[in-house]
């Protein structure tokens, strides 16, 4: 099936037309769409069906395990050794200055003062996974989770590391993971965006929209910021004072006017597409608000996600929305834990305990609820959940005094669950103090390759022609998905 969608310079026909510029698209479609049941000089009234949605669902070229992805982005970089990467031999080392190579915001260092993990660990589940006290709820889900303890990234600096986790590159201008999935697979619900981003209440991450940009691909594939309150999407709400019925009157009149205009230009299918796009927009206006209407959820569900507690309400709401969006066929949903700067996110440079207590406290129950809820609804098998930040944190102190840890891209932990991922496994490891990955280091690209593969895409085959090159999310060189966890 892949060739059918990728038969024109490695792109879908639509994209090929877009890339080659304006007028060409209009004319070229006439012939290209002729085979899809569009008469050359068809006439007749444009129907919604005429809208050749670039996000229309496409069959996955390879057998797919997952249909949707929820990426829980722990912005700022959670400390792996205080969460899921158990380092029992560090106990008792607190305050000791040791030789260790680190590289963070504060530059390269060769020694540092150990900060012992600040939380106790205990074992959970049949797999006996050691999890810190920060995640008592999530501890109950470990048998569904595959932990990746030897992640590495190319930068320990937020800006470039965020871009790498989101788009595979250190530089801006490249499509995000969600853009690639929508490009490769489309989305099954045309009434909702295919790539949704939900930001923390405190603000966006640094570099803002660059993190969900479609880069060199059309903006169709860019992430759409989705809000739990107010108008879920920009310009979705009717202008003040207007009503749906009134807008219907406008659309009817507009359709009539556009139809008159089209009659002498029927070979330009973009005109019909634009007429249809107004009907689709009208439908979106009712579908998107319905998707965020949490009053449809039972009290038990709301409570499961922690909506009844101040601490967990915000992130819990977004996790619950993520589940509702998955149910409605949204392809890729990114939920940010943490926003803005400093301790508004996981960037614990100052007081590790205060910082991580706050962010783990806000997310532990909602994430556990999300996994549990997806599972009980039979959705976990087809929903891939990814957890992690742009990097981890160092075993040593950043300052002469205090518990703050600097960034660490030499080794950190992420985890995946659902969507065909094996539960109860842990792969890779860092050294005894978590300073770097030692066993089976895994570049961020391996994670991306795994996500694409679980979604039925070939990470080394999915490409987009730009700048004289077949660009890929995973880059030029072959990248293998992480076989041990599928």
């Amino acid at each position: 099936m892949q060739e059918k969608t990728r038969n024109f310079c490695g792109r879908t026909r639509r994209e090929f037309l877009w890339e080659t510029g304006c007028g060409f698209g209009a004319a070229a479609l006439t012939s290209l769409l002729a085979g899809d049941g569009f008469g050359l000089l068809g006439g007749g009234t444009a129907q919604a069906a005429d809208f050749d949605n670039p996000l229309a669902a496409k069959p996955a070229p390879l057998p797919a395990k997952a249909k949707s992805v929820i990426f829980l982005f722990m912005y700022g970089g959670p400390s792996h050794i205080d969460t899921f990467d158990y380092k029992p031999t560090m106990v008792g080392m607190d305050g000791k200055t040791i030789e260790v190579k680190t590289f963070g915001r504060g530059g390269h260092k060769n020694q540092g003062r150990i900060i012992e993990p600040r939380w106790k660990f205990r074992q959970y589940g049949e797999c006996g996974k050691w999890v810190s006290e920060l995640f008592p709820h999530l501890g109950g889900c470990v048998d569904d989770i595959a932990f990746l303890h030897s992640m590495t990234a190319e930068s320990p600096i937020h800006g470039s590391a965020m871009l790498m986790m989101n788009s595979g590159r250190l530089q801006s201008g490249n499509p995000a993971l969600g853009s690639w999935l929508n490009y490769g697979l489309g989305t099954v619900n045309e009434n909702l965006p295919g790539f949704v981003v939900m930001l923390d209440r405190s603000g966006g991450p640094i570099s803002g929209a660059k993190n969900w940009s479609s880069g060199y691909m059309p903006a169709t594939y860019a992430g759409t910021v989705f809000r739990a309150e107010g108008s879920p999407i920009n310009d979705l709400s009717l202008p003040a004072g207007s009503t749906r019925e009134r807008q219907r009157e406008v659309l009817d009149t507009l359709a009539g006017l556009n139809e008159q205009h089209r009659q002498s230009r029927v070979d330009n299918t973009d005109l019909a597409a634009r007429i249809a796009s107004y009907e689709l927009a009208f439908k979106m206006q009712s579908h998107a608000p319905e998707a965020v209407d949490l009053s449809q959820e039972t009290a038990a569900t709301r409570s499961l996600y922690g909506l009844d507690q101040e601490q967990t309400r915000d992130f819990g709401t977004r996790c619950l929305l993520a589940r509702r969006l998955v149910e409605r066929g949204v392809r890729f949903i990114q939920v940010y834990s943490g926003g803005a700067h400093n301790d508004h996110n996981w960037d614990a440079h100052g007081d590790l305990v205060v910082n991580h207590t706050k962010h783990a406290g806000a997310t532990d129950q909602p994430i556990a609820a999300l996994l549990t809820d997806l599972k009980q609804r039979g959705l976990l098998d087809e929903t891939l959940v990814v957890w992690g930040g742009e990097f981890g944190r160092q075993p040593t102190a950043e300052y002469a005094v205090g518990t703050g840890r600097d960034h660490n891209s030499f080794g950190f932990t992420m985890w995946m669950a659902g969507g065909g991922i094996k539960g109860g496994v842990s792969i890779g490891s860092t050294d005894e103090i978590g300073s770097k990955a030692v066993d089976a280091p895994m570049h961020v690209k391996r994670l991306h390759a795994t996500v694409l593969r679980q979604m039925g895409l070939d990470p080394n085959g999915l490409s987009y022609f730009f700048r004289g090159l077949d660009q890929k999310l995973v880059g030029v060189e072959q990248v293998e998905p992480i076989a041990e966890i599928v």
Partner: protein, 814 residues
């Protein structure tokens, strides 16, 4: 044995990917279209590249076979036989192997076997003597005779002759001319990006002189709005933006002066070769002026990481950004692949990439964190003043260093959260509250003295007249270090040294670089490169720019991949015309306005956009130019046209960028909501879109909804998408609703009768009288809104105006 079965190597994987873009369907189409005549460039080379090069190409020559060049392709193999024997398909082992039924014998070993059509292509090509043609773009333009056509009346200018000749060959006729009204709208948007005002339109319609059309074009070319429209095309190519991207996405001060330079250059009809020279080497020309210095802002437009994890990598990324932008925008070449290895398809070896880089070796990084001025801000004020200012700045900087180190002494004694706070915007507060406590008395005294000295120096600086700063190549490396080929593109693994040299595919003599004097500002290499690129003898520069001009007039270039004239690009639809235009352009002193005039006075440009069944069936993509293609307005045109028809448009030219209002929801996507976004007055906000501040991480949603490009990379052609988000924007956004309100105000002011008001809105928006049906539709909408929704007449009129601004005819041009 032609090839051994080995696993694909890493480097080959890229190759297979890069070549997958020539889809099988494409090949089959070609074969079906022209079974008899096989084109090496179009049919054979892509096929070889896609299916064979991985093991028998530039990198690997398994079994002794390399298919990327004629000599190696026909050479004797390790086995003693020959893969290709020109003229003798039956002797050619390649054909036996690809057609073999035996799975272990058949080539290629990986993937699906070649299709019958593909095998036939190769067979026909070998039978025809395996001709190995040079790629069309890598042969200098040839002066072609004007073709002879039947309809000499229609072919009134050379462009028409070239276009008509192909149409007549295909037994097609050109579309009839468009009516005057359509033409006027077409020309106004095309040259200025704005619709005609009613007066301008009436003047033209009333002008019966046969030269009325020429006069109209002449007038539009003299309008300063011409530079705003055509300058923006250039800004797309040089990925113009006013911030650096990355974590802080900090502003590039004075970037707007470069934008104004571009607009002015277009308005003054600066010869294109000079325009390129100024941007590439404005600081190295015989006559360096303020204008040419501002032009070197060209080097400062890209993204820049102020906190790179790997500074060396970042440095080379910056160079790569300049090389790829320059080569794509000016030469129509994509050379970036050669950063890591020889280009797989185009004859661009890795040495040529670094040969180009060597020309830019004196280009310093944009800045270092904390100093974005030294390298990138050029002070144009008088030398004496500048010197004083520099000295004071230097003094301030060193006192600040002293001050900071004293503060750090105290901070190091504080708690971790306080230390953390010292790195935040709250640092000053921390110092005010606590520093004294953590310094001993003598340290504190010294600190206070330093503060006093700092204040004094700052005061002196303030007394000097303000600097006249511009974004430019302010500091260069006059004696740059040697340039090396970086193995696999890794900046930490230098290989052989390279000298600045032109890509070998041009076949030009080695550059002569004058030795730079010890006190030189720069290395003098960019001037040599600029002269070579902007030379009439450069076989690509003129072709690339005339093709772009054509692209913006007709919606697509003669070469559709207008920044890629290489072998992976699309071949020209009218190669002779392209050559003819490029030679004509150079003869006419590289003047763009002459070229516009030539193109727009052709009959080709004046054709109607109407379809006809025969032509649509034969040439649905209008490759042969049997009609003028409709186009959707660009993002800027849509916004500017709205302002124009409501009468709000502020036509002020040039100056610092504007910050139209952005909704809080949009600002909230930033990590510091509102940071880096200003607040312009209503009048300023009604200026043209080209003046909107371009912040890389916060592009205006109204523009991006309509395919404003990503500003991190050179953009050769905008996407044209149709999506429901655009409908939401034009129906629901505050911006669209405000414009509808202003339009309603205007028509209510200008006309008293409801019918006339309804009609007037259409007339203003679409540059034509409203039809009876439209007036009826408008009145009917207003009546329904009144009857069913109890909407006041004025509000109903506003709603009608909103509908008009949403019409297809408002955003699509015939």
């Amino acid at each position: 044995m032609v090839g051994a079965r080995l696993p694909l190597l890493f480097c080959c994987v890229f190759l297979v990917g890069a070549l997958a873009l020539i889809g099988p369907a494409f090949i089959e189409n070609c074969a079906a279209q022209s079974a008899a005549e096989v084109s090496f460039v179009r049919d054979v080379k892509p096929l070889l590249a896609r299916r064979c090069f991985a093991c028998h190409g530039p990198d690997v020559g398994e079994g002794g076979l390399r298919l990327h060049g004629l000599e190696s392709a026909v050479a004797e193999l390790d086995s003693g036989s020959h893969a290709i024997v020109p003229g003798q398909p039956d002797e050619s082992v390649m054909l036996t192997r690809i057609a073999s039924e035996d799975e272990f014998e058949r080539m290629p070993p990986e993937g699906k076997p070649l299709s019958g059509a593909e095998i036939e292509i190769l067979r026909n090509w070998i039978a025809a003597g395996a001709p190995w043609e040079k790629h069309w773009a890598f042969v200098p333009p040839v002066a072609h005779e004007l073709p002879i056509v039947d309809d000499e009346v229609w072919a009134q200018n050379p462009i028409d002759a070239f276009v008509l000749a192909r149409l007549e060959d295909a037994d097609l006729s050109p579309a009839p001319p468009a009516d005057k009204r359509t033409l006027a709208r077409r020309a106004f948007f095309d040259l200025t990006g704005l619709p005609p005002t009613n007066e301008q339109l009436e003047d033209f319609l009333a002008d019966d002189d046969p030269r009325a059309w020429e006069r109209l074009i002449g007038g539009l070319l003299e309008s300063p709005h011409y530079g705003e429209r055509w300058g923006r095309h250039w800004l797309d190519l040089v990925r113009y933006a006013e911030t650096n991207s990355f974590e802080r996405d900090g502003a590039k001060p004075n970037a707007w002066k470069y934008r104004d330079y571009v607009i002015r250059s277009f308005n003054e009809d600066k010869p294109y070769d000079q325009f390129l020279r100024e941007q590439l080497a404005g600081d190295e020309l015989d006559e360096v002026t303020e204008e040419t210095i501002i032009a070197t802002g060209y080097y400062r437009l890209g993204t820049w990481d102020d906190e790179p994890a790997d500074p060396e990598q970042s440095r080379y990324d910056e160079w790569d950004n300049i090389i790829s932008t320059t080569s794509q925008a000016m030469l129509g070449l994509t050379v970036e692949c050669a950063r890591c290895h020889d280009h797989k398809i185009d004859p661009i070896p890795q040495a040529d990439y670094y040969g180009l880089l060597a020309f830019f070796a004196d280009v310093t990084p944009y800045g270092v964190r904390g100093d974005e001025e030294t390298n990138s801000q050029w002070d144009l004020s008088p030398p004496e003043e500048r010197k004083q200012r520099q000295e004071l700045r230097q003094a301030i900087k060193s006192i600040e260093v002293e001050k900071t180190s004293m503060e750090e002494v105290g901070i190091k004694r504080m708690t971790a959260p306080d230390q953390r706070q010292s790195e935040t915007p709250d640092r000053q507060k921390l110092l005010d509250d606590k520093l004294e406590k953590f310094l001993n008395p003598s340290e504190w005294e010294l600190y206070k003295e330093t503060l006093a000295r700092l204040a004094e120096a700052k005061q002196q600086l303030e007394k000097l007249p303000g600097a006249d700063m511009v974004l430019a190549l302010a500091t260069c490396e006059p004696q740059p270090a040697a340039t090396h080929i970086m193995q696999r593109g890794n900046p930490h693994v230098p290989g052989d040294e390279v000298q600045p040299h032109f890509p070998k595919l041009f076949g030009d003599a080695a550059p002569q670089i004058p030795a730079s004097s010890p006190d030189a500002h720069s290395a003098g290499r960019r001037r040599v490169l600029a002269d070579w690129i902007a030379s009439p003898d450069n076989m690509l520069t003129a072709r690339v720019v005339v093709n772009r001009v054509w692209q913006h007039h007709f919606g697509r270039g003669i070469v559709r991949s207008s920044s890629n004239f290489g072998e992976l690009g699309t071949p020209p639809t009218h190669p002779e015309l392209l050559d003819w235009l490029s030679l004509w352009f150079v003869e006419h002193n590289w003047e763009l306005k002459s070229l516009h005039r030539l193109i727009m006075t052709s009959n080709t440009y004046r054709m109607s956009s109407a379809g006809n069944e025969k032509a649509l069936a034969m040439d649905p993509t209008n490759d042969l130019l049997w009609r003028f293609d409709m186009r959707r307005l660009s993002a800027e045109e849509i916004r500017d046209a709205m302002l124009a028809v409501t009468g709000e448009l502020n036509r002020d030219l040039y100056g610092p960028s504007i910050f139209p209002r952005m909704s809080q929801e949009v600002l909230n996507t930033q990590s510091m909501p509102g940071q880096g976004w200003g607040d312009s007055t209503e009048a300023e906000s009604a200026r043209r879109s080209v003046y909107i501040h371009l912040k890389r991480s916060l592009l205006p949603p109204l523009l991006t909804a309509f395919d404003f490009p990503d500003v991190d990379a050179s953009c050769e052609a905008r996407f044209v998408t149709v999506q429901p988000g655009q409908a939401l924007t034009l129906l629901n956004s505050e911006y669209a609703n405000e414009r509808a309100e202003k339009l309603a105000e205007r028509v209510a002011h200008e006309r008293s009768d409801l019918s006339e008001q309804v009609a007037r809105a259409v007339e203003l928006a679409l540059s034509r009288p409203a039809t009876e049906a439209e007036i009826a539709a408008g009145k009917d909408l207003i009546a329904r809104l009144d009857a069913k929704h109890d909407l006041a007449a004025r509000e109903a009129l506003r709603t009608w105006c909103l509908a008009v601004l949403n019409m297809n005819e408002f955003v699509f041009l015939d």
